[in-house]
Subunit: 111 residues, 2 copies
Amino acid sequence: MADDDGHPDIDEFDLSAVLHALADDNRRSVIAQLAAEPQGSEQFCSVFGLPWAPSTRTHHFRVLRTAGLIWQRDVGNGRMTRLRRDDIDRVFPGLLDSVLAADAATRARVA
Amino acid sequence: MADDDGHPDIDEFDLSAVLHALADDNRRSVIAQLAAEPQGSEQFCSVFGLPWAPSTRTHHFRVLRTAGLIWQRDVGNGRMTRLRRDDIDRVFPGLLDSVLAADAATRARVA
């Protein structure tokens, strides 16, 4: 069962929720930035360089969290975010890699 | 440039639009059913066994079409639908396969 912060167990992962979470450029950028760090790394939400107002940021991180893509925990006045790479890869093998590759190719094409 | 029916050229494919189109259970079911047919097969919209009212069906097929996932053409009183598998695979290699595999695994788990 999902915990109080809305982190689902891996047997609750929903493909539609994961694809919806990844279907936004900025949310996908968060995941791409986390995936580029050594596995298990945590980042403060503020480091992602996103154009979101605080309330919007809360919404977008909730979408990522409730889809099972990230873990978040409170640290002082901020929240640390970590990619749930092992969990996603276990439930949907190859999915995250193919989305990240498509995302990188898209950003390279636009840049 | 997209044609009058909203079919995009492959250099206009947008990853967010593709993931959004695939983030709906029933839309994904259309793509899975088309992918299960021999490549290049066309199907009438009515064969997909979906719970959509006609107006909703129009909307959902437009989402799939404008994302570049399907070709549609008018035939008599109906529309034929074909998967743009080569185009999607060229622009986003491996993406459709990983989504279809995740979809099949999900449906097997639920069934």
